[in-house]
Symmetry: C2
Subunit: 560 residues, 2 copies
């Protein structure tokens, strides 16, 4: 295609609301256009990228034996009432009434519709397993849409739902989808990791997230430096540890006037934060609880919730009402339940609050104190990997995929049964598998850019090659050579863009770099004098002279 | 693909709400599944057909130089207020509020969004012309969704919008899209006709509909039997006719007791309906009007509205209040304006009501009566073609495409300007071009079916070839041959379905015929004894024995 035939509205400045690099670059490169908060149009170059991502996902899903379907965006309330999610799902579910005053929603996900479909068409165990997927527009009414297409309201998702006679079959499909997703993200050319994850509001028993690694990622992911272990930081589980012997140190009360934070206390007392214990007070449905953690550790709210149910941190007034001194809370003589994190439990000779204003205790131990223990904290870099191999490293990731073993959460609520081998009705087991298609494009950019713009992986670049002729509109020789090369590439089935604009070379170079086209060929009268074209890869500063007559073969070898 | 790997839920009975054949067959063949009124899921076989239609449309639109984009389904109210359609558009526009109480709609069409887009990115005449298209989910809240995907609420449309510096460029693109649409419907293998049409609520100056011809079509289309003239019946325009001399017949009043309808009067008086004049009374903003038409003609409501504005037929009470006698209204001594259709104006020696209970007049003429004339009627078969060549034939059609010259209706309202050659701002001219993608599938079936099911055109059939082995699960020889043939076809890139189910031959034959797969090969032990396979085309009852070794080449020649 020629640049004059396609809208590529590049711009120098990013809009003010674009906080992250992918949002800035997608606007600057003319891939997307904002229509309203969280609503974006895909312009021609952006849609080319999106369609390449879709094509790879579709091919691999088909290879896996999944069947493509297309369900409506609009969904009747009745199905959501049947599953129970009409009331559970928050304001992100956009609800409306049609002209006959019937309630509907815009689908943020399709568990209800597909389970309804399966209950209509799957009647016998002989039909199972079956996996349906679609690539389709979804809507979530985010309270604060941001980061461009990374967290937009309308977006495209590949969502798949599988149906099974039993748990073994469900798990087998989960493994197959795990492998399929790896294949998809490999082909997309992304540095990604599958990580253990929490199932969240979708429900179910087991889930794995697929993250594209990028410094700007919203999620922290923990990896073992010696094994394949990887998990979302929220999901890293620690076990009870072996206690070492008690220390001989003896407890002392020390004046720590107005020194309340762990940082300050550790500095003042010249000890590591890891030698301090901090005590947090929370309010649960079963009263207040004190939680003790090592000073350098953070409370994991999901683990806490799983253990104690919904909770909130106690307010200053509430702490006061318990006769506790904020900033000086300790572990001794508490009137409320104390739960100690596994890592804190094995500490000896530690510092903690004295439960008196302006005093801490040093040389503490747990002897004589009544408490329960639990896994309460987030992982930190250097923690032993839960699989016993190596230490944990923490990186940032962008969640682009998520696979779940749903079990019978939806099929039970919606009576999705088949006749089993014995002739009795069996509730089907389900899995579900999502990829944020539009989000993949943004994540690919977060992972692959430099100061000049996007560096698209070859598999999803809008064009593979750009030809930049200098003086295309003035030099007949350059024009003829450029047109000749362009036609050679077209004939060879290579996706090539010929920049035929009357622009300065600098602008054409800048645009092709901003757009992240992997391979660039420059043609000028000087090059023509030598029978050459100049080649440069987007991800390599080096420029190479290539014989014009070899320019096709040269690029073909690069594209292999 | 093997039948066991894909959901094909064929059924013998059509649901009660399926009134038309395409709806019945799409449900029976397992192409679609109803989710709620006007909402359908595409099952795997249906989606294959839909994607083939989309691919052909996409290729031809790209060939025409149009650029594919993707705009959001949800659209902010502000844009529709700017164009004026927020108030104009009726209840079919589904409106809702987001969680921040901002008003939105689900897009039934995208003129506003694309004009807004164009006003952002098109600044100079040098960028024009430009044509943007998308293939996307649309929503219209039909008051009575029916006929399956033919008139559903959620549907897929290819909508394109072009932008121009002037009318000439707009007309040139209109011609180009006309040719592109012809190419698309040719490739889809459909018997179609482009016809002159009314622009309706989209607005603009000139429009052409593309109709798939089918007896069940909602629209009547008039063709000349001697020229290319074709128009929607509503759009056939008639001119004033030459009057012949008055007749010598003299007017008589005859008793027609309780005989009121044109049919009865003509029969009773032994004259043709074409020899009678009927007078209709309507109520307009400017008072009541009497409209006179030839007895065998029908009032064209669009022409009437274009002439007199919004109107309704007068009620019995209103007719009474005008001192007129329903069933016996005539043309003489009326107290209200009389408008006579061109075809009635040239009548002589005709019958009409006597404006007295139980009496008609015969031998009437227009002499001495005060009236205006106009083109008020629908065409009928046998009318002279408006282009002066031949007579009109009437066929039924299903509207699947519509192209419009919009002019500046939207660009003016939304300030979509470019800098023209002279340096001054110029309002862009626009065209818009739609194809109902999901509707094309239904229309293709309305045009191509028999008592056994669908007869898909080869270009959009879900599979090109079906292999039906008899005793696939019992005869190793049949299984080996069938698998061998299946693999040959796969390797040759032919879309083949192997029916590997343990079903009776009759059921397998019935399913492949219901699904409309163009080519069928049957393999049995008997055939194997002779080294043959049996071939049958879906659209031909003849069965042919083909040598197994030639079966690949044979099918390849059929697919050419």
């Amino acid at each position: 295609m020629k640049t004059s035939q396609i809208l590529i509205p590049t711009q120098k400045e990013a809009p003010n609301d674009a906080q992250i690099i992918s949002h800035q670059l997608m606007i600057r490169a003319g891939l997307i256009s904002k229509l309203a908060s969280g609503l974006y149009s895909y312009l021609p170059m952006g849609l080319r990228v999106l369609q390449k991502v879709e094509k790879i996902i579709r091919e691999e899903m088909n290879n896996s034996g999944a069947q493509e379907v297309l369900m409506p965006v609009t969904q009747p309330a009745e199905l959501w009432q049947e599953s129970g999610r009409w009331d559970e799902y928050g304001a992100e579910l956009l609800r409306f009434h049609d002209r006959h005053n019937r309630a509907f929603c815009l689908g943020p996900t399709h568990e209800e519709v597909v389970t309804h479909l399966a209950s209509q068409y799957l009647n016998s165990y002989k039909q199972l397993p079956m996996n349906f997927y679609q690539i389709q527009t979804k809507f979530r009414d985010e309270i604060r849409p941001r980061f461009g297409v990374m967290r937009s309201r309308e977006f495209i998702m590949k969502d798949a739902y599988s149906f099974h006679l039993d748990k073994d079959s469900m798990q087998a499909e989960f493994e197959k989808m795990h492998a399929t997703y790896c294949q998809i993200f490999e082909r997309l050319g992304l540095n990604y990791r599958p990580v253990l994850a929490d199932s969240g509001s979708i429900g179910g028993e087991s889930s794995i997230e697929f993250h594209v690694l990028a410094e700007s990622g919203e999620d922290a992911i923990c990896f073992s430096d010696e094994s394949d272990y990887a998990a979302n930081i929220e999901k890293v589980a620690f076990s009870k540890q072996e206690k070492t012997n008690s220390t001989s140190a003896s407890e002392k009360q020390v004046l720590t006037k107005k020194i309340t934070s762990i940082e300050e206390v550790a500095q003042f007392l010249k000890v590591e934060q890891a030698q301090c214990v901090k005590t947090l007070i929370i309010k649960t449905a079963n009263g207040y609880k004190a939680l003790a953690l090592r000073g350098d550790h953070e409370l994991n709210e999901i683990k806490t919730q799983n253990l104690l149910g919904d909770f909130e941190f106690a307010s200053d007034e509430e702490i006061k009402s318990l006769d506790l001194k904020k900033g000086f809370i300790g572990i001794k003589d508490l009137s409320i339940d104390l739960i100690v994190d596994y890592s804190a439990e094995v500490m000896v000779d530690f510092v903690c609050g004295a439960n008196q204003w302006d005093y801490h205790l040093t040389g503490c131990a747990w002897d004589g104190i009544k408490f329960k223990t639990a896994d309460l904290r987030n992982a930190v870099a250097g923690d032993a990997s839960p699989d016993g191999k190596g230490k944990l490293v923490i990186k940032r990731g962008i969640e682009v995929g998520h696979i779940f073993q749903l079990g019978d959460k939806y099929s039970k609520a919606m009576n999705a049964n088949v006749i089993g081998e014995s002739g009795k009705a069996v509730t089907m087991m389900m899995g579900c598998y999502g990829i944020g298609v539009t989000r993949v494009v943004a994540a690919a950019i977060e992972q692959n850019y430099d100061e000049r713009g996007i560096i698209f992986p070859a598999s999803i670049a809008p064009f593979c090659v750009v030809i930049v002729p200098i003086n295309y509109n003035k030099s007949t020789r350059v024009k003829d050579l450029a047109d000749n090369l362009y036609q050679q590439y077209l004939d060879a089935g290579i996706e090539v863009l010929l920049d035929d604009r009357k622009e300065r070379a600098g602008i054409m170079f800048a645009d092709s770099e901003l757009l992240g086209i992997p391979h660039r060929l420059v043609l000028s009268d000087t090059h023509a004098d030598n029978g050459n074209v100049e080649y440069k890869a987007r991800n390599n500063p080096e420029k190479i002279e290539v014989k014009f007559n070899n320019a096709l073969v040269f690029i073909q070898s690069k594209l292999k």
